[in-house]
């Protein structure tokens, strides 16, 4: 699909032997304020094109912007959650360039006076270690409209017959979060990149400032990558002293998995060029999700000149210390700390907690426990069939469960049926299948399918007697004290009872009769 010939890439491990990667990530987040950044237009996603516009966000002659105070509050909260300093006085600036999807032909942004600066986010990696991502700045700006290029092969402007522009998105509040160069990650750079974007997404979700839906573009990532010669361990002083190489910026990498893949690809591509004696062209690159490669975008020289100057149509933003502290008081518990607290509350091992986190099931389990289930049961049920099926569908567990109408209350109810002795494990699994199939609540499914442990001890006792009589060898072993052999008899008893018996009770009876 790309007209460019595929670039040469170096094997990743080989590349890591020769080079040290440095990354910089720029993440754009659309705030989910009710109205746009500088006007009163609504921000809902997916509306009829050009139905959410006014003179201001269309950039009509004479129109003037007014800052959305809610967006400023969100920006400050994001800054605080990223451990940033909050500017006591800062201005918007105009970033001047011509593009049809930008109504004023300048973007109202912030330049050298960001609302938040100098922060960090500690990111937990899969092995449980922590990488600190230094945040350079978080600033406020407005989104552009959306160009739709009609005709041509790729949906890109090149080769298109004509283009359409939807200005519904123009003026939606954006926060751009820019990291400092991320050094010292070594071969784990792609993992670190993914973990950072993931942690940022969790944080923004916890702050309730954005939908953070990468697939809808409410969170977008640009990944800068450069390589420098490898001279030592990634975090060694001599390695950190090596000057940075030329970077490329891969635009619009719009899923967590793609962030990891795109960084990894660019590292291998740079390595092949540098190893062959070539040099890296400073440019933007397009990420192709389907083929897993990047292709050349526009050449980006340092001389690209946006002629920034302070936006004269807006007054400076000057939050008082009291305002900032009041907003600080509204911050949720940081996701990392929260996880540690929950792990201890739930009594999970590190490994168990990591499984839960990787499955994206922390909130589900929290709600399930709140609904009355034990932490162990909540984990067992969520990470079982629902998780497996979500994976198979390529969805995250939350979205998948929501799509099926499976709720934490259902899982708690299911656990309750087991604890009360109405269902055993295998029956509970059948009930869950029924719930997943949309047959109703766990109780309703159990009722409809007639699933209930037989409470009649007489029937169970008869089954036990029958099985003991049919297996004299095994019975003898148990009498000799080999209790483990009881398992074989329990299985047969359960079969005799068509599964509708309490295995624990069967075991008790067998042992009582043979000891």
């Amino acid at each position: 699909m790309s007209t460019a010939t595929a670039d040469a890439v170096m094997d990743y491990d080989e590349a890591m032997g020769k080079f040290d990667p440095v990354m910089g990530l720029e993440v754009h987040v659309e705030l989910h304020t009710a109205t746009k950044m500088f006007c009163g237009c609504p921000t809902e996603f997916g509306a009829e094109p050009n139905s959410q516009v006014c003179p201001v966000c269309l950039g009509l002659p004479g129109a003037l912007p007014v800052v959305n105070e809610k967006a400023v509050e969100s920006a400050i909260r994001i800054g605080l959650a990223l451990n940033c300093e909050i500017a006591q006085w800062c201005r918007f600036a105009r970033k001047n360039y011509f593009y049809p999807d930008m109504p004023k032909n300048f973007q109202t942004s912030q330049y050298d006076e960001p609302i938040a600066y100098e922060g960090y986010l500690d990111v937990e990696l899969e092995d449980g270690s922590t990488y600190r991502v230094e945040i350079e700045r978080a600033h406020m700006e407005e989104d552009t409209g959306k160009s739709l290029h009609i005709g041509g092969a790729t949906g890109r402007i090149h080769g298109a017959d004509h283009s359409l522009v939807d200005y519904n998105r123009a003026g939606i509040p954006l926060i751009e979060i820019v990291t400092k160069p991320m050094v010292g990650a070594g071969e784990r750079a792609p993992e670190v990149a993914k973990a950072y974007v993931s942690a940022l997404r969790d944080l923004l979700r916890a702050l309730d400032v954005s939908d953070v839906k990468m697939e809808q573009g409410s969170m977008r990532c640009d990944a800068n990558v450069s390589l420098r010669p490898r001279v030592g361990e990634p975090t060694s002083a001599e390695q950190l002293a090596v000057p940075l190489g030329t970077r490329t910026e891969t635009k619009n990498v719009n899923s967590l998995r793609s962030v990891e893949r795109a960084v990894r690809y660019e590292i291998s591509r740079h390595a092949a060029i540098l190893d062959g004696g070539g040099s890296i062209l400073q440019e933007t690159r397009h990420w192709h999700e389907d083929t897993g490669i990047t292709t050349s975008g526009r050449v980006k020289s340092d001389a690209e000149d946006y002629r920034y100057f302070p936006e004269p149509d807006l007054v400076p933003v000057a939050p008082t210390r009291e305002t900032v502290e009041a907003l600080r008081a509204t911050l949720p518990e940081p996701p990392g700390l929260r996880r540690k607290r929950l792990q201890s509350d739930w009594g999970y091992s590190d490994l168990e907690m990591r499984d839960v986190v990787n499955a994206g099931a922390v909130e589900l389990i929290e709600e399930t426990v709140a609904a009355g289930a034990s932490a162990a049961a909540a984990k067992k049920w969520w990470l079982g069939e629902p998780s497996r099926r979500a994976n198979a569908e390529g969805q995250d567990i939350v979205t998948y469960a929501a799509g099926l109408g499976l709720t934490p209350a259902h899982i708690a109810e299911l656990d309750g049926l087991v604890v009360s002795g109405r269902l055993n494990d295998s029956m509970a699994r059948q009930v869950l299948d029924g719930v997943l199939a949309g047959e109703g609540t766990p109780t309703a499914v159990a009722d409809a399918r007639g699933l209930e442990l037989v409470q009649d001890d007489g029937a169970l006792e008869a089954a036990v007697d029958k099985v003991i009589a049919a297996n004299p060898d095994v019975a003898a072993k148990i009498r000799d004290g080999k209790v483990a052999a009881a398992g074989a008899l329990i299985g047969q008893v359960m079969k005799e009872m068509k599964g509708q018996a309490d295995a624990g009770k069967a075991r008790e009876l067998i042992l009582a009769k043979l000891q």
Partner: protein
């Protein structure tokens, strides 16, 4: 109440308002009288780019009906007005004197226009201006220049020459203006009319097509100080749609104009504004006015504002910088002119933008866009835009120091009387120098006014005196302006516009 003249167009807005309030006349009568006058003389003066006969009469009728129904109406209800073509008017063309906006009908009203409509002022039409308010003569209008009613071969000032000539030729009793570096005050001076640039933020900028956002200020234009004050009170006030709008009531301008009292006021004559380069006749009328103010009981001192010498240079960096960005939106994509490049099959959006901007902007606009683009470029920003901002701060300091000593400052409004059409068209620097006395107020955001000071001896053309006050103290302009106006009219034996030549066509049409 004063008796109205037979020719209603000769009445002041204040007198018309009184007669309307007492139902002596109707708004339809007044509006029709002005529409007749426009039909008779605008062919010579070319003040209007668009006359809205039907709309104006419909608004006049609506006001008359509201009055008949006993509704309580604003002070100027029923008095017609001309609106500078830089203000958006819903359903009426708004071109800013530029080809690039030819045919554009705004879907919304500027806040000022909304206020005029709510106050019941019928809008006669849109007045001519230098393209995007860049100029001091209206010669940069893409639709041809307006002419000075005192001498049709001369300029009516700019950029608001349409509004000034409309007043001086009695084609409207009131007009709106915008003043970025003198576009209300200099046209007032060269046509013997009155114009005020309020404190920055005193009148909403929402719906004013921006030239330089940090300098632009809309304001009232009239034939008398009181008329101008009445309009100021209608136009002014806080607007939540304009972030730079002042959140405070309009200063008591009408009260000040009615009191017309300068006794005990300290008035500073700005040493840097009035020396070399000022026409002797302009200078003489100014000196007489200052002497009159002293006779009226003011204390007059000389004040030095040394950094004013750098104002013009700073202004011509800040203005083009902001303008280059403000005018970027005119790209043929969404409204206005669209020109396809010649000899190009399948032109790209970029090529259409370039062709349209090339065809749609006049030479002065292009000159300033290029200047501004250059001044904002990385590597030049600090030297140009950055330094200009420092000068701006120094000028504000000069004003602050001066206002520590005096209540208002005065100077000639413009260095010369109206020059001949074409005289300075090929010499941008000479054109820019027209605004040398008016620019400092825009850089500092303080209010300023121009009123007629008399006719220069050497050419018999009007000269103006400028009054400047501290920010938010706009009422002081009216105290001084009204007191001086009364003394001058007394000395002249009648309004100065009575001395303007009768326009030929009008004489014929009116049988005067």
């Amino acid at each position: 109440m004063t008796d109205l003249p037979t020719d209603l167009t000769r009445a002041t807005a204040a007198d018309l308002a009184g007669a309307l309030a007492s139902k002596t006349i109707s708004s339809v009568e007044v509006t029709q009288a002005y529409l007749d006058r426009i039909a008779a003389v605008d062919g010579q003066v070319h003040s209007y780019l668009h006359v809205d006969t039907d709309g104006a009469l419909a608004q006049a009728r609506a006001v008359d009906e509201r009055r008949a129904a006993g509704e309580s109406l604003g002070a100027l209800a029923g008095v017609p007005i001309a609106v500078k073509d830089v203000m958006t008017t819903k359903g009426l063309p708004t071109t800013c004197g530029s080809k690039i906006l030819e045919g554009w009908i705004p879907p919304y009203d500027a806040t000022v226009v909304t206020k005029l409509r709510e106050a019941g002022l019928p809008i006669l039409g849109k007045t001519n201006m230098d393209e995007f308010a860049m100029g001091s003569s209206t010669e940069h209008s893409a639709y041809g220049p307006s002419r000075n009613p005192w001498d049709l071969d001369r300029i009516p000032g700019g950029s608001g020459g349409g509004s000034s000539s409309v007043l001086a030729s009695f084609q409207a009793p009131l007009a709106t203006g915008t003043d970025t570096g003198g576009s209300i005050r200099q046209p007032a001076a060269v046509t013997a009319t009155v114009g005020t640039k309020p404190t920055y933020g005193g009148v909403s900028r929402y719906g004013l097509v921006a030239l330089a956002s940090s300098l632009d200020q809309a304001g009232p234009c009239g034939r008398t100080v009181l008329d101008t004050a009445l309009l100021h009170a209608v136009m002014g006030g806080h607007d939540p749609m304009d972030s730079t709008s002042i959140d405070a009531p309009v200063p008591p301008v009408v009260e000040a104009a009615r009191a017309a009292d300068v006794r005990g006021m300290r008035i500073g004559v700005v040493k840097e504004l009035g020396g070399e380069g000022y026409q002797p006749g302009v200078r003489a009328r100014f000196d007489e006015s200052v002497a009159l103010l002293e006779e009226l009981g003011a204390e007059v001192v000389e004040v030095s504002c040394p950094n004013f010498d750098y104002a013009l240079a700073a202004y011509y960096l800040i203005l083009p910088s902001e303008a280059s960005s403000n005018l970027a939106k005119f790209d043929a994509m969404r409204y206005g002119l669209r020109v396809l490049p010649e000899g190009v099959d399948d032109p790209s959006a970029e090529q259409v933008m370039a062709a349209t901007r090339d065809a749609g902007f006049g030479p002065e606009v292009k000159r300033r866009i290029i200047l501004g683009t250059y001044a904002l470029s990385s590597g030049y920003y600090d030297a140009y835009y950055g330094s200009a901002q420092k000068v701006r701060a120094l000028i504000a300091q000069d004003f602050a120091a001066a206002y520590g000593r005096v209540d208002v400052l005065v100077s000639p409004t413009a260095p010369t009387t109206a020059f001949k059409l074409g005289d300075k068209l090929e010499d941008p620097m000479a054109m820019y120098l027209n605004d040398i006395a008016t620019i400092p107020a825009n850089l500092a955001g303080v209010p300023g006014m121009s009123i007629p000071s008399g006719l220069a001896d050497e050419d018999g053309l009007p000269a103006g005196i400028q009054i400047l006050a501290p920010a938010t103290k706009d009422e002081r302009l009216y105290s001084v302006g009204a007191a001086l106006e009364a003394a001058l009219v007394d000395r002249w034996g009648g309004p100065i516009l009575d001395r303007a030549p009768e326009l030929g066509g009008a004489a014929a049409a009116k049988g005067a």
